[in-house]
């Protein structure tokens, strides 16, 4: 009796498994696996969700409209990190080997996770896309061969903000004797700009106060009382999630003018200002791209994804700042894969091949227009020497309802930053015993 049951069970299992065993590999041969480290729950979810939606939607669009990339279908899988480094590493380990060629690239959306994966990625031969975040010195591709901080680093951001306040003050020489406070998330992310601001403070002669705020940033009373006491001429805000809106609310509570507050590009989205209501009016931040559903890709998204009920979020959220950033992140991964296919053939790419694609990525204005990102993305040309590809941003201001550009495009001063990047990258190479050089 027991034997009969066992035999029946085995036969049943085999009948279910057999079609999978024979058809799955054949089907998967022409699929490109793209992993996603996301945070849709937890303290940082209000910022993590729109980014995750934009990124996911872009790959859904490529599959729905184009059948994938050059005929290779994208298989997309998310893993929830909750913005925690340990969970991020766990997700990376779980996803890195999936698909016929493994993960194409990882976008951690967390500087802490990026720091942890920077040592793992070279061993696994998987590139890390850290668009506008991560290690500033990873711009140097001869040391950080697998990191791609496309569109700029926090050192670029700090330098651009310094240029902007110098212009407001009537010249860099006018900063002498002034006072600048940095209110920052007490994490690897928040600490990144300190080196550049300390250097600027010494060079230009202004006083600099670095003021940490502990995770998640809901209690900032003492920080803002100090700001009320010291009355800095400007406050730079390097926050994430609830910390940003709390900072703006505390600024209101101590009567600090929002027109003197400047956030980095991760402190300049709708969830950062809307909870503060009218108190956020006049607040500035850096912008990596325009806010709003202004590009042809947004219309394509509605037509091919949302009108078919396949969107990751709500239709009215298309065009929000962090949604657009997710779209851009998706674009960079997709175009790195496409660039790699140009060299290695139209088939699923390995992480190593995608790395080559990133390092040879050249998004011209013409190509951006073809992709429907006109008005959203700026040209990017990556090289071994410059893994960011572009180092510019604009300043935007919140008017109570929407973000408006209030400056031209600033380009970070590479003459100033390059020696710092080289020094830091060389130090890292020495510590980790990395042989610096470009990978062909």
């Amino acid at each position: 009796m027991q034997f009969t049951r066992l035999a029946l069970g085995l036969a049943g299992a085999a009948s279910i498994a057999a079609p999978l065993a024979f058809s799955a590999p054949a089907q998967a041969q022409n699929e490109q696996f793209v992993p996603a480290l996301v945070y849709r729950t937890g303290a940082y979810a209000p910022n993590g969700i729109p980014f995750a939606n934009g990124r996911k939607d872009y790959f859904a669009l490529l599959n729905a409209r184009d059948g994938g990339i050059n005929g290779v279908k994208i298989v997309y899988e998310e893993c929830e990190t909750g913005y925690a480094t340990d969970r991020g590493v766990e997700c990376y380990e779980r996803l890195k080997g999936k698909g016929p060629t493994g993960a194409a690239a990882f976008s951690p959306l967390s500087t802490g996770i990026t720091f942890a994966l920077t040592e793992k990625a070279p061993a696994d031969k998987i590139p890390l896309l850290t668009m506008g975040y991560g290690r500033a010195d990873s711009v140097d591709g001869s040391v950080f061969q697998w990191n791609f901080p496309l569109t700029g680093s926090y050192w670029d951001a700090a330098n651009i903000l310094m240029q902007h306040i110098a212009r407001q003050a009537g010249g860099a020489d006018k900063l002498k004797g002034k006072r600048l406070a940095l209110v920052y998330h007490d994490s690897p992310y928040g600490k990144e700009p300190i080196a550049v601001l300390e250097e600027a403070s010494k060079r230009l002669g202004f006083k600099f106060d670095a003021m940490p705020v502990t995770h998640p940033g809901v209690e900032q009373k003492s920080t803002w009382l100090q700001i009320r006491q010291n009355r800095p001429d400007w406050v730079f805000l390097w926050g994430w999630g609830v910390m940003n809106s709390t900072s703006i609310k505390e600024a209101v509570a101590v009567n600090y003018p929002r027109e003197k507050m400047f956030g980095v590009w991760w402190s300049g989205a709708e969830p950062d200002v809307l909870p503060a209501g009218d108190g956020a009016k006049g607040y500035y931040s850096l912008a990596l791209h325009v806010a709003g559903a202004v590009a042809p890709v947004h219309q394509e998204m509605i037509k091919h994804v949302y009108d078919k009920g396949q969107g990751a979020g709500k239709k009215e959220e298309i065009g929000e700042v962090l949604y657009n950033r997710g779209l851009m992140d998706g674009l960079f991964v997709a175009e790195a894969i496409r660039t790699a296919m140009g060299k290695f053939g139209n088939k699923p790419m390995t992480g190593e091949q995608v790395r080559w694609g990133f390092e040879n990525l050249n998004l011209t204005n013409e190509r951006i227009k073809q992709l429907g990102y006109e008005g959203l993305a700026q040209p990017v040309k990556v090289s071994c020497q410059d893994h960011a590809g572009v180092h510019s941003a604009r300043v935007q201001q919140w008017d109570g309802k929407k973000w408006n550009f209030v400056s031209d495009v600033y380009r970070a001063n590479q003459d100033l930053l390059r020696p710092m990047i080289k020094e830091s990258a060389d130090k890292y190479a020495k510590e980790k015993n990395i042989k610096a050089g470009c990978v062909s």
Binding site: R40, G42, V218, K221, A253
Partner: protein
């Protein structure tokens, strides 16, 4: 000098906000000896329920509905989690509340979403200045914090009357003293637990409203519970006035430390300094400032 008083005042008012959350812990611990780790999650769940209901109905309808939801939640917790665990070790009940916390955090976000929801209770948010004749420019006070202090004061008075002047309050105190003895004289334990979890749910709602008005209703307000822990260690787990006094000391201590000690040792110290302060108290008064002294007979 004015700045020092401003820091002290800011700390005291922040401390009142911590006390609001700590009160919920005290209520449940006092009546059942259970350290309810889910109190922070209850604050989040209550605030999310209220703010999402306010999307459809006005506040005066949303508030009682949320109270009913919190009472229903207390009923479910009592039936599904606590009743099967009557007379179990305290640590088992604590672990059960840990499970409730994770469930509520996840369930709340699944049902109501993970966005930031603005909760406007009509409380003015602009700063006000007091004692302008004494200090040059006056002392800055946050109106929202003053409102929170008033709410906390009213809650304490209400809870004190409830515990001291009502039959249910008397039964609650009997259960807190000894479950089995209270049961043996006919106090219905399950009913008492339902009452106390409902009361803690409504305290969570009030705390959620104040914190939600301050920060926006979103996941981070569940983490505010972590601020209540040093308050409880210091004030005692069984004392309502202890939760208030503990909150005031912790709030003031952490702000003074951050402002005056922080710049010397790198800043960002207020979170751990609160725990250190509580630990120092623990060395001298393990039961907290107002907690019941533990006497074990051998």
């Amino acid at each position: 000098m004015a700045f020092f008083f401003e820091v002290v005042l800011g700390g005291l008012l922040a401390g009142v906000l911590y006390s609001l959350v700590a009160l919920g812990f005290v209520l449940i611990f006092k009546a059942s000896g259970v350290f309810n780790f889910a109190q922070g999650a209850m604050v989040l769940f209550a605030a999310l329920t209220l703010v999402r209901l306010m999307g459809w109905v006005p506040f005066w309808i949303a508030f009682p509905i949320t109270c009913v939801v919190m009472i229903a939640l207390a009923f479910i917790i009592e039936r599904v989690v606590l009743r099967p665990l009557v007379n179990q070790e305290g640590i088992i009940l604590f672990m059960a509340t840990l499970g409730i916390a994770f469930f509520l955090e996840g369930f709340g976000q699944t049902v109501w979403g993970s966005d930031i929801y603005t909760l406007d209770l009509g409380i003015p948010k602009d700063p006000m200045f007091i004692l302008e004749s004494v200090f040059d420019g006056g002392l800055l006070v946050d109106k929202l914090d003053v409102f929170a202090a008033a709410v906390a004061g009213a809650l304490v008075v209400g809870l004190a009357l409830f515990f001291q002047k009502t039959k249910v309050g008397l039964a609650l105190r009997a259960v807190a003293d000894d479950h089995q003895a209270a049961q043996s004289i006919g106090v219905p334990l399950n009913y008492i637990w339902l009452v106390v979890w409902s009361a803690a749910g409504i305290v969570a709602l009030v705390a959620g409203m104040v914190w939600g008005a301050k920060l926006g209703v979103q996941f981070s307000i569940a983490l505010v519970a972590l601020k209540a822990l040093p308050v409880l260690i210091l004030g005692g787990f069984t004392s309502v006035p202890g939760a208030i006094i503990g909150g005031l000391i912790i709030g003031m201590g952490e702000k003074i430390s951050e402002v005056y000690l922080g710049p010397i040792i790198g800043g960002g110290i207020e979170n751990w300094f609160a725990y250190m302060l509580a630990l120092i108290f623990l060395l001298f008064r393990p039961q907290g400032l107002f907690g019941d002294k533990i006497i074990e007979r051998v």
